[in-house]
């Protein structure tokens, strides 16, 4: 028997993993903002299904919510397909309208039931262990049961359609000519996103659904170039954000979902700054090195172009480099020294001359 504390962590980990799997493809296909739209509008599906079935336990709620997620994507496509509105604006038109409708329907017709708009956005993971169901004699939190279901389903879908997803993501035209309908793959993915969002947002809130779908894959994308590794890393990062967020929240006694989203953001920020090859720091170091190497090449090329010309004495004077190539004096000194050390140039009095090696370098460029 698990303690509630362990159960909450287990739920968080499973939901994080379930969200990241479709999230990887949302990020790669540049559709991340659809997660924003879907995770809001599924509420309308739930409300409508509730008003029809009059029961919060009806499976219709789940079906309605998933369908509404897919309908949202379809509506965005209809609006942007009219060519009157660009796609980003279409997303910004569709989901606030559907979400407003949901909020109003709740406050008007379902205000007395457990469908609180705050908890939809914010989630309350701490309460998840108290909402339990018994299956095959095992007593489980509902969120754990459904979260595992979504995770398993997403994993199976990924395993089955990995090749198709990969192809349709990187080369939709080729995928279409090979007979894999991009529309089917697109709507399949959106169904999976919608289903995961519905499962997850009850426990963690719609905003954390977005954070878990987008932040770990975006972080992983900064760390690797290979799709399988990106998927694995995303899941690991999502799980790490969930666990660390949980403990930070317990330590400071703050919102668990909020802390998890924050940790996911901190993880991304760290990768953005310090990723081995793509991070800001690594880029700055590479940039400096490249700038110097580049400047040495430019110097040899400049000398080659003016070699033997009548104005060579002026053009090949170190002072001229400061003017002509817009170099700072200190930088020009450093570059001349570096070129000299590498044996590309030598000084003849005041004038710089190419060595054979330097001439070869310049010709090769």
């Amino acid at each position: 028997m698990l303690t509630p504390q362990l159960e909450v962590q287990l739920i968080a980990v499973i939901i994080a993993a379930a969200c990241t799997l479709p999230g990887v493809f949302l990020v790669l296909r540049r559709m991340a903002m659809l997660s924003d739209a879907i995770s809001h509008t599924v509420l309308l599906g739930i409300v409508l299904a509730y008003l029809i079935s009059n029961s919060l336990a009806s499976p219709l709620l789940f079906v309605g919510a998933v369908a509404m997620g897919v309908i949202t994507v379809w509506l965005v496509e209809v609006v942007s397909g009219s060519r009157l509105v660009r796609e980003d604006a279409a997303i910004g038109l569709v989901f606030p309208a559907l979400f407003s409708l949901a909020v109003l329907l709740i406050s008007r017709y379902a205000g007395n039931i457990h469908l609180d708009t705050d908890s939809v956005l914010l989630g309350e993971l701490a309460f998840a262990p108290f909402d339990r169901i018994t299956l095959w004699g095992i007593d489980l939190p509902r969120a754990l049961f459904f979260g595992s279901g979504a995770l398993i389903l997403n994993a199976i879908l990924l395993a089955l359609f990995y090749k198709e997803l990969k192809l349709a993501t990187f080369d939709p035209a080729l995928a279409a000519t090979l007979g894999f309908s991009p529309a089917i793959i697109h709507y399949g993915l959106m169904t999976s996103v919608s289903l995961t969002a519905v499962t997850a947002f009850d426990a963690v809130g719609s905003i954390l659904v977005i954070a878990l779908m987008v932040a770990p894959p975006a972080t992983a994308y900064l760390l690797t170039d290979r799709l399988p590794r990106m998927i694995g890393l995303s899941v690991a990062i999502g799980v790490a954000a969930a666990l660390s967020g949980y403990w930070v929240a317990r330590w400071l006694d703050v919102s668990i979902a909020g802390a998890m989203a924050t940790m996911a953001g901190i993880g991304f920020g760290a990768a953005w700054l310090f990723a081995p090859q793509r991070g800001i720091v690594a880029q700055a170091l590479q940039h400096r090195n490249r700038r110097e190497r580049f400047a040495v090449q430019m110097l040899t090329l400049h000398l080659l172009n003016h070699e033997g010309a009548s104005d060579a004495v002026i053009e090949c004077h170190p002072r001229h480099l400061i003017e002509e190539l817009r170099w700072q004096p200190a930088f020009a000194d450093a570059i001349v020294r570096r070129a000299e050390q590498n044996g590309f140039i030598r000084r003849q009095g005041e004038v710089l001359c190419l060595t054979e090696q330097g001439r070869a370098l310049a010709r090769d460029l």
């Binding site: 949302l26 980003d88 979400f99 880029q283």
Partner: protein, 300 residues
Amino acid sequence: MIAERMIELFTDYTLRNVTIGSMLLGAISGLLGCFAVLRRQALLGDAMSHAALPGIALAFLLTGQRDTFTLLLGAAIAALAAALWLLAIVRTSRIKDDAALALILAVFFGFGLVLLSYVQRQPTAAQAGLKSFLFGQAAALVERDLWAMLAIGGPALALIAIFWPQVKLISFDPDFARSLGLPVRRFEVLLTSVIVVAIVIGLQTVGVVLMSAMLIAPAVAARQWTNRLETMVLLAAGFGALAAFSGAWISALGERLATGPVIVLAMSALTAISLLIAPERGLLWRRWRLMRQWQSGNGE
């Protein structure tokens, strides 16, 4: 009864504040939102309005004030910080703008929740109402808030009016503007700040979640009716105010109808109608013209 209510919107003190406040918001955000939509930054408003939440909570935590101005200043700073980080991410990494938008939206909002839950444990009674920024609380608008809206929105509108030719050129063709020697970067910062202003004004009325609709929908609706930027901007302001008025009115009629969502729904309806029937561009209008052509073609 319905008509009486409509008069009350302007005579009853509380209702008047709600009505005028909402209309101000609708007009200002409608007008300024045009630039977000035309410069392909429609969803930036969504990300920035969510990102304003931690700013509100931090402003409260640092100053202990629940004064509108302080909180909105915090909101503006957080929203701008989010926009800057977003630009930096897109410019310096391989992350595309959709992922950066979603990430920043969710992370800032999550951090806002952390702060909010921290604030709520504070013993002071003053924390009450911070949550109203989620969906807005138009009913709580007081006269001071209206003046605050004008004080923030007025200068933004004035800047746009003063630099109108430049703003228009930079929205259409930034490269050409740069070749003329205009300080395009500075104008881009100005236009982003102006959107922040619109968001900050809207937070009290429609809240962070629905704010993006008030930026995008009036601009999209207005675009369908005109081919001139000048007309579009004024029309968007008019649509925004109209939607806000009908929202305030409908929610004053019905019980338990929050003003913010009603305004957004009214605006969405206006937009849908515009997309369908606007002359030249509307979908139904184009279909109707096609049918006319087809019929007159058959008649000959």
